[in-house]
């Protein structure tokens, strides 16, 4: 097995779109995603000597991007108020008799198999974009970056109870968005 080597002149062609999409899902704003991808390539170019050839070039580049993205989240925490506010309404309500409204309809889908459904993933990407900055950021940190609740609360100064409520409302909004844009069209 030959060791992996870096071919910077091919990076843009091979990885630019892949890195951009990965970032876009996380940061919402295409300008920010663009900047992060660009600074990833620049940083990679400067730190080529740290590439030990043990991982693939792709994994190495993604590693740099992941660091850049987390740094961006940490730096941006001053600019987004992650506290719960009156405008963070729950899209799901309850009738006086205690029933959920709108009532959940059966998606008839195996939770594991759902991930293979490309169309549904595309709808989710669109629905994610419809979340407010606050909902988007916390949902991404929890469900896409996969941070633990403890980590999020500590690093982003969010109270646990606020985090749970916001995640719940973000999930509700996404769930309803999936229902109105995809599930009901079946």
């Amino acid at each position: 097995m030959s060791e992996e080597t870096l071919e910077p002149e091919k990076w843009v062609e091979k990885y630019a779109d892949m890195l951009f999409r990965y970032t876009l899902v996380r940061v919402k704003d295409p300008d920010v995603a663009e900047e992060l991808v660009q600074s990833t390539f620049f940083a990679a170019l400067k730190s080529q000597h740290t590439f030990a050839g043990k991982s693939t070039e792709k994994t190495w580049l993604f590693g740099i991007l992941k660091h850049k993205t987390m740094d961006h989240f940490r730096n941006a925490k001053k600019n987004i108020n992650l506290d719960i506010s009156d405008s963070d309404t729950d899209r799901i309500q309850f009738t006086t008799s205690g029933h959920m409204t709108p009532s959940p309809n059966n998606w008839n889908m195996d939770p594991e198999k759902a991930t293979q459904n490309k169309e549904l993933a595309e709808v989710l990407a669109k629905c994610l974009n419809g979340l407010s900055e606050k909902f988007h950021r916390l949902f991404v940190l929890k469900e896409i970056e996969g941070l633990s609740s403890e980590q999020i609360c500590k690093e982003f100064d969010v109270k646990p109870t606020n985090l749970w409520v916001i995640l719940h409302r973000a999930r509700n909004q996404l769930k309803l968005c999936l229902e109105s844009n995809w599930i009901n069209k079946e």
């Binding site: 002149e9 843009v12 663009e34 309850f94 959940p104 998606w107």
Partner: protein, 91 residues
Amino acid sequence: MNWFMSIFKMTCKDVYPLISEEMDRSLSLSGRLRLKIHLAICILCDIYRKQLQILRNLARNLGKEDSQAIETETLNPEVKEKIQKYIEDQI
């Protein structure tokens, strides 16, 4: 005994925050019990819980490096050109 009876009288509204919260924290023993008993008798909350699980799986998949979900999104060609030029100048 009153407490024991009260868990059978839980409404969806009482239980429903727990369905999401169990994805973010470990519930207390009483919370787990209330949830379990309610889910056994309430088909709508059970459906809702499955939906949140599907949503979680979808989100995880969307965030993967090789996710095919937003293939139509590409980096601005001008930015690509700029980066390419920068790289070529440096090597």
